[in-house]
């Protein structure tokens, strides 16, 4: 078989991207509760960073392990020691530099073939935008509540 990697053989045939809003919200809420319970009131910066990690964690858990980007996020979160292993550079087949920029932005992007990168990016982007929408919605509701 071709040793350069398979052509567009992604096991996920689902054309729609992103998890359900409800699942995302449930996980994020649960994570927020944990952060609230376990972070001392005296360290707001720490709490902000933990909330950010909770956001990416709930995104990744909601996406499940069928996505390469979510596996990469969970690996990164579980192994917080920064081991920058240099992956062998794969040449992009088209649009050279921009694909490289994308590989750096999408978790796990460095090791993907071009087709997988495009599909993973679409899913990752969809999940990210849903997460932002969720967080914005919480901030808006809590602000307008005015307590």
């Amino acid at each position: 078989m071709d040793s350069k990697g398979s052509a567009c053989s992604n096991p996920n045939p689902n054309p729609t991207f992103g998890p359900s809003k409800l699942m995302l919200a449930f996980r994020f809420l649960r994570a927020l509760s944990i952060v609230h319970r376990t972070t001392p009131a005296s360290s707001p910066t720490c709490r902000g960073r933990r909330i950010e990690r909770a956001a990416y964690a709930s995104m990744a858990y909601s996406a499940g392990t069928s996505r390469a980007w979510s596996r990469a996020v969970l690996r990164r979160l579980h192994h917080r020691a920064r081991r920058r292993a240099v992956a062998p550079r794969r040449l992009s087949t088209t649009a050279g530099n921009r694909a490289e920029a994308l590989r750096r932005l999408v978790p796990g992007g460095a090791g993907m073939d071009y087709c997988t990168l495009l599909e993973e990016t679409a899913d990752y982007t969809k999940c990210l935008s849903m997460q932002v929408e969720l967080m914005q919605g919480i901030v808006d509701s809590a602000s307008s509540n005015g307590r």
Binding site: L29, L32, P44, I51, Y56, R98, L105, Y124, L128, Q131
Partner: protein, 82 residues
């Protein structure tokens, strides 16, 4: 010819699907998409989303400090029911 060769059609299809998750996707043509444009737009969009997560995390942190957790939970449920 190798049967594992990726076709331009497949690439274009994936690029179209990617473009569909970008903002204002409905304004764009779905015929041939420019790979360079889609990738550039995507990079810009992901960067802005990362910044928003960062910013919103800080704001949520302040909210948790000022309110109790219950109103944050109520806020989430309200935002889901919208």
């Amino acid at each position: 010819m190798s049967s594992s060769r990726i076709t331009d059609e497949q690439i274009n299809d994936l690029l179209t699907k990617l473009q569909a998750v970008l903002p204002e996707a409905h304004l764009r043509s779905t015929d041939r998409v420019s790979a360079a444009k889609v990738l550039q737009d995507t990079c810009n969009y992901i960067r802005s989303l990362h910044r928003e997560v960062d910013d919103l995390s800080e704001r949520l942190s302040e909210l948790l400090a000022n309110n109790d957790i219950n109103s944050a939970q109520a806020a989430i449920i309200r935002s889901l029911l919208r």
